[in-house]
């Protein structure tokens, strides 16, 4: 699915972080977001996922087409790997969890409680959830944190599979994933200056 956004401004808390972000990602391609800490990557991704509505601008897709993977893993320590995947499978209407298990090599961990997983294993489990969503647009926030080189290439393969099925991915990351169809966008160029449109309390004719 094509992802097209035009002149999107988004805010975090009381601050407008990004303004006039525009890009177009064609079906089957990925967009890598880069930018310094605090540049607004997470803010933009939350906006794409439909959690924070944009202040201005338009998104070409519905949040119902987006699968979102946050910075946090969102795992419950008392549940096993299999239970976690089955739960999300049911939520997204995917009966078979094996594709996700296979993509991230979780077979040997299936019965283990997530509290006994290492940080990298937790991350893999969290990413495996994306496969189960069967949604066209993957929006991912730093997906490779605490993954080793082998797991990163595993993840890259999963993304490639998703793209070759006609999906789209928007990924904020600092490392090189080695994706074939990926463009890079530095969102440092969209830094917002607060204006009257985003904050009416900046009106010069104010006091």
């Amino acid at each position: 699915m094509d992802v097209k956004i035009e002149n999107v401004s988004c805010s975090r808390g009381d601050r407008t972080v990004l303004s006039n972000v525009s890009f177009h990602v064609k079906s089957g391609r990925a967009l890598i977001l880069r930018g310094a800490n605090g540049a607004g990557k997470t803010t933009l991704l939350r906006c794409l996922a439909g959690l924070t509505p944009p202040i201005t601008g338009a998104l070409s897709f519905s949040p119902d087409d987006v699968a979102y993977s946050a910075h946090a893993d969102g795992l419950k320590s008392q549940m096993s790997v299999a239970e976690t995947l089955e739960f999300w499978g049911k939520v997204y209407g995917a009966a078979d969890i094996m594709p996700a298990v296979g993509a991230f090599d979780l077979k040997s961990l299936l019965d283990r409680k997530t509290q006994f997983l290492s940080a990298g294993q937790k991350r893999r489990l969290s990413l495996a959830r994306m496969v189960l969503t069967r949604r066209a647009i993957w929006v991912m926030d730093e997906p490779t944190v605490s993954l080793d080189a082998h797991a990163v290439s595993q993840f890259a393969r999963a993304v490639e599979t998703h793209l070759s099925a006609g999906g789209t991915a928007i990924i904020a990351t600092h490392i090189e994933l080695g994706l074939h169809n990926a463009a890079v966008l530095d969102i440092g160029t969209f830094q917002a200056e607060e204006t009257v449109e985003t904050d009416p309390f900046l009106d010069e004719a104010f006091l």
Partner: protein, 218 residues
């Protein structure tokens, strides 16, 4: 949605104290009150319905901040909000899970624990009926309060301040039904009014809850 309910119940059981906590609090209250006011059976019998209702209310309050807080902190709430489940449905399920882990045990435990308070036998039936009809409202209202304070570091105390005034009508009708039952009067009117409040809350409040959740996740 059923998967979410099952997950919440499993977590409540495995995390420990899910079912037991409210009930244990209830038990402690039923022991402490006679210590506080003295063992006079007549006095205890007279205040028992009210104390049991207040106890149920406080026991309910005790577990409210866990409804969304844990899911919020580990990021699950973000994932649920972006999932195909409607957030209104998530709110309803969360209330239901809360009711099953606190309201239901309290309703079932009220009759035996009431004996500690010398509750009149006539009142027991009305008290249990009242709790069965009223505790769903407590859970739903509490879920709303939890949604309002989910983003806050120290929401625990604030929740009580927000939720307790909202509990007022339910408490008034519930305690009134039990009191009338104890005096041998007809208690159907307050019970029906309370059932009406519960039905209204269950039907409407999840919308407010999900609105509050969306605002907090922004």
């Amino acid at each position: 949605m059923i998967a979410l309910l099952r997950r919440d119940l499993v977590l409540a059981i495995r995390a420990g104290g899910g079912f037991g906590l409210g009930l244990a609090f209830f038990l402690i209250l039923c022991i402490l009150v006679p210590f506080g006011v003295g063992p006079n059976p007549d006095l205890l019998a007279r205040i028992a319905p009210g104390i049991l209702w207040v106890g149920a209310l406080l026991a309910c309050l005790l577990s409210l901040d866990r409804i969304f807080q844990l899911d919020f902190e580990d990021g699950t709430l973000d994932l649920l909000a972006t999932s195909p489940l409607p957030l209104e449905g998530v709110a309803t399920i969360k209330s239901l899970a809360h009711w099953l882990t606190t309201g239901l045990p309290l309703t079932l435990g009220a009759a035996p624990l009431g004996q500690l308070m010398n509750i009149p036998q006539d009142a027991v039936f009305w008290l249990v009926c009242g709790l069965a009809l009223g505790t769903p409202a407590l859970s739903v209202i509490g879920t709303f309060g939890a949604a309002l304070t989910v983003g806050l570091k120290r929401g625990g105390l604030l929740i009580s301040l927000l939720v307790l005034p909202l509990y007022m009508p339910t408490l008034l009708f519930g305690a009134d039904a039990a009191r009338r039952g104890a005096e041998g009067l007809d208690a159907t009117t307050p019970l029906l009014l309370m059932a009406g409040i519960s039905a209204g809350c269950v039907a409407l409040l999840p919308f407010a809850t999900s609105a509050a959740l969306r605002m907090n996740l922004r």
